[in-house]
Amino acid sequence: MATAAIESHDPHAGAHPATSTGLNNTKIAIWAFIGSECFFFASLISTYLIYKGRSLVGPFPHEAWTDPSTHQVFKAILNIPITSVSTFVLLMSSLAMVLAHSAVVRGDRKSSKIWLASTALLGATFLGFQAYEFTSFVHEGLTIHTNLFGSSFFILTGFHGAHVTAGVIWLLTLLFIDIKRGLTPDEAINVDVCALYWHFVDVVWIAIFTLVYLIK
């Protein structure tokens, strides 16, 4: 009796076995995981903020620096216009993600494929911007070994990028399943869980964009 599947009336949850909480265990697990990720990113963000302004040598994020030994001038390293565009891209990927989830819930297979592909594409575009940014920083003299800013910046944004990469792989997996045999409304929970992870990656970037890029 206890193991009998309950027919769910929630189109977002799909049918799931009876649980003591009455909630889908997969969804509880992803929320618990997201809760633990809050601590992970809090440690990286606090490390960045503690080291902020304590680098002995440049390049610096918001102000130019002249190397006293070579007299080489390094301009402020952060490129706000480019990062603003990549932030917009990530925000739009969240919109595409909710539309993908909505399409799967409705059983609209054509739209679900379009929006899942759009989300993955926008995520990949964000990663492209990040690769461009990292490459240009290295060309301008900032590496992970250069100073405290470089170390904490690359670690923080690098781990965020790794999370985006994992999200893109997850999205492509869902897209592959959708193309291969179609995602049914009963499987909407699988897209919902991926969407929660994706939106979390988005909110982490919202914090990073302000704390790292905009606050001088």
Binding site: I6, S94, L214
Partner: protein, 118 residues
């Protein structure tokens, strides 16, 4: 069997309660409005960044933090459905988020990035 039956009915009740929480999710129109608001707030943040008269004031950092917090809350409430979902999900997210935020502020105090002047 009786115990099983009892457990099952508890689960059904709990599920019904949880499902009631999860029933009302935003529609496409809401999602698009949310996207527009997020875009406008991001544009406002970047505009503020390029205002020398404003960046020099004490309001610069609190304003950016407030705008960021609004964007964060909007995504969590509408895109992650936390506004509509079960209370357990809210507890699982907001609990660690608050502790993590206190840890960040505490560390900034410890390393003298934030000072209280008497």
């Amino acid at each position: 069997m009786a115990a099983d039956h009892s457990h099952s009915s508890v689960s059904h009740d709990a599920h019904g309660d949880a499902a009631a929480h999860e029933h009302t999710h935003p529609d496409w129109g809401t999602y698009k409005w949310v996207a527009l608001i997020l875009t406008l707030i991001t544009a406002l943040e970047v505009w503020i960044y390029y205002l020398p008269s404003f960046t020099a004031t004490r309001l610069f950092v609190p304003t950016l933090l407030a705008l960021s917090a609004i964007k964060f809350a909007i995504v969590v409430m509408f895109y992650m459905h936390l506004k509509y979902d079960a209370k357990l999900f809210r507890a699982l997210f907001i609990g660690p988020l608050l502790i993590a935020s206190f840890i960040i502020v505490g560390l900034l105090f410890l390393f003298n990035h934030i000072k209280i002047q008497f």
